[in-house]
Symmetry: C2
Subunit: 187 residues, 2 copies
Amino acid sequence: MARWEPGADGRLREAALTLFLERGYEETTVAEIAQRAGVTARTYFRHFADKREVLFSGAEGVRAGMAEAMAGAPADATPVAVAGLALDAAAEAIGHRRDFYRQRQVVVEANVELQERELMKLAGLADVLAAGLRERDVPDPEARLVAEAAITVLRVGFHRWVASAHDTVDLGVTLREVLGELVGLRG
Amino acid sequence: MARWEPGADGRLREAALTLFLERGYEETTVAEIAQRAGVTARTYFRHFADKREVLFSGAEGVRAGMAEAMAGAPADATPVAVAGLALDAAAEAIGHRRDFYRQRQVVVEANVELQERELMKLAGLADVLAAGLRERDVPDPEARLVAEAAITVLRVGFHRWVASAHDTVDLGVTLREVLGELVGLRG
């Protein structure tokens, strides 16, 4: 498996995913992940709060990218257009790691705890989006609705992307497609 | 607090909510809930799989109502119209218990485990909706998108409903409003 970044946190993510796929998530300990990555368990906990978190560190990059994209969106952008730029940023943050996310998906789908953590991360991203829209003077309830709709797009598009049989599928393009489909829904 | 249904399961829900509000979710044991409801812990576990589940039994009625509404929808109903009927059924199943859900919301918002369970229940309802749409020959990816969009409506509308200062607010009306707003979103 290719290393997707240098440093202990990247090695820990790689080691964790490999062990989770080989043995199962529940059967793997933090000590084993750390050992495989060549670091101590203490180093693990400097990077990740618990065993689950090693699979969710991408959320921080997505969160930061989304916040920055929203803050930098043109003043006259509609709420949906701002959400679209935030989704572009999400794709930018994680879209180059499709192999990682495809394998990670196998692990997540086999474990309820991991599914719960994933849903909580997505809920946290919805809060970031809603806050970013409110800062742009989009009032509630519109800010909340657009934020939740954008997270629905992220969720649906992400699953479509990892499930695709085509290695060339692009996350950013996929998210824009799903956003277009959502906005195009008619009663 | 009014009893909202007869039988042990209703008494257990009432007892659990009262104790969670008084002492906190984490500080309350299943044994204490059972004692307050006048039953044994064994009876508790005949009704609910774990301590969390006592707050989520409404999901079963929602699930059943949604499935029935979708199966009974007119043959020429659009996917969004079918989802709308499913949302009406969800409102029918839980909308008469606003006091319960308002108090329950205080407990859920104070505890991450409960938030996780709630998100998992909603994800399960999305699967029910997607399956119901597929049975009506709505293909994926449309079935999945409409199902997830409808659950976004349920999530946003439910929060708007429990947060409303007006006791007369109707869950069914609120869900229809939010669905209209979602379908009305423009890029």
